[in-house]
Amino acid sequence: MYERPKLQSLTPSTTPTQDADGLSPLVIRASNLDLTFQTNDGPVHALKDVNLEVNKGDFVSFIGPSGCGKTTFLRCIAGLETPTSGALSVNGMTPDDARRARAYGYVFQAAGLYPWRTIGGNIRLPLEIMGFSKAEMGERIKRVLNLVDLEGFEKKFPWQLSGGMQQRASIARALAFDADILLMDEPFGALDEIVRDHLNEQLLQLWARTEKTIAFVTHSIPEAVYLSTKIVVMSPRPGRISDVIESSLPRDRPLSIRDSAEFIAIANRVRDGLHAGHGQG
């Protein structure tokens, strides 16, 4: 039904790695990654021949139609899913070792707060598991709640918060233990435009301040372009990368940058990539 997209032949841009020596700042490297789910209705080819390199401090966005494997790829990076073939390394380790080393914070597609814990208690969860001291926990909870604009909600239970506030709390939970990598699966998908803009801005500030490496799944072209240094366009059946766009926008981005010609040009290229993936380009 879907014809082979033309862009598929374009191998993802491999910026010549200046750091081919052992001191590579490469954080994520996927080569020839394949993943097939065995289901009752037969095999589902979720990822096919995925090649990608993410450097330290990159902000990578994954964009593509529903079911193209964005979540699956993120889960592979997190060591929650095991690729059928190919190689994947995170911080120079296998994803599973990186998971054991608590290398990343993961924000799931739904907030997934534990209903029996308060907002503060939910943020404390990873800190308890990782064995932080009481004082340090309190301090960190205050700090990340502040970061996502939820001061004063520490003692509230999840059901007392709106969906958007719950999602922010889940971001705070992922930030609490200061992992170098942040994996975010459509964290702002459920939010209205204004809150989304605000959080996008805050996320950029956080990223600039902390030099984290962020992998970010979204369905929104403007969001992807506004946030990213690298945009990965994916297409479905089988899920694969159809384009990788290195953003030429400066790292310091006011919201108004979205009206610039450069921004629109990048957005157009993303849109073209998406259409190509759909077999309509």
């Binding site: 929650l80 998971r99 997934g112 209903p115 598991i129």
Partner: protein, 306 residues
Amino acid sequence: MKSFFPVVTVVAAVLLIWIIAVVPMNMHLTADQAQRDGLAVSPDTPIARQDFSGLGLAVHNSHLIPLTYVNVRPRLPSPHQIAIELYDTVIDKKITSKRSLVYHGWVTLAPTLLGFAIGTLLGIMLAVGIVFSRVMDRSVMPWAIVSQTIPILALAPMIIVVMGAAGIQGILPKAVIAAYLSFFPVVVGMVKGLRSPEGMQLDLLRTYHSSNSQGFWKLRLPASTPYLFASLKIGISASLIGTIVAELPTGAKAGFGARMLVGDQYGQPILSWAALFAAAITAAALVGIIGMIERGTLRQMGMKPA
């Protein structure tokens, strides 16, 4: 409070049916007694009266209907007779009296609570084993199910006799039977509850590289709390029934079960019925207490009952 009116309506309907049923049920007895007391009864021989149904007899002797409610040894006691007997044996009698239902109630309640505690503990431990060990999942669950298919009425005397032969008497054999009935709902509910966390809640813990025991204490156990309480409510009433059943066939001298049996054997149905009602009220109270603890606990946990 929303359930108040439906409950009252049902209770009222049951009472009405009961009150109406008292007349035909006791009519023959009442007619015999009335005749002995020199009242006019038609037809005037017990044998002739056998040809009539209770209802038919009542139609012919409507003047005897009020007397069906005050029989000393009725086939079906009227509600007020039971209420009076309950008042008499619960409130009027000294607790130390052998006729006090409070005394008998405690004799039944103590093994019920002990058995419930044992059953709950056992149930939770088995459930934890089943959830964390494949081997236990395969081996324990079928036996737990089979254990509940054995009629407790047949099993109870065996347990009492065997334990008695081993020199164990008193509260413990009854508690064992109570535990036998209450562990099962706890196992089933807890297994379901401990398995209730969904993929994402578990994945979250994996991203933190948490240990199995952290997963248990921080996710599975709290997630299972609503299920546990649902099971405890079934378990406590099962415990009470188990204890009463244990008292029935073994010639126990005290307890609700003993009272029911004594009433039966000595032709004092009001006694049996009063004991039955006292047991039912006790069960309702126990379930109510657990319900209150449930509401308090879940509110503290920010959750709603399952």
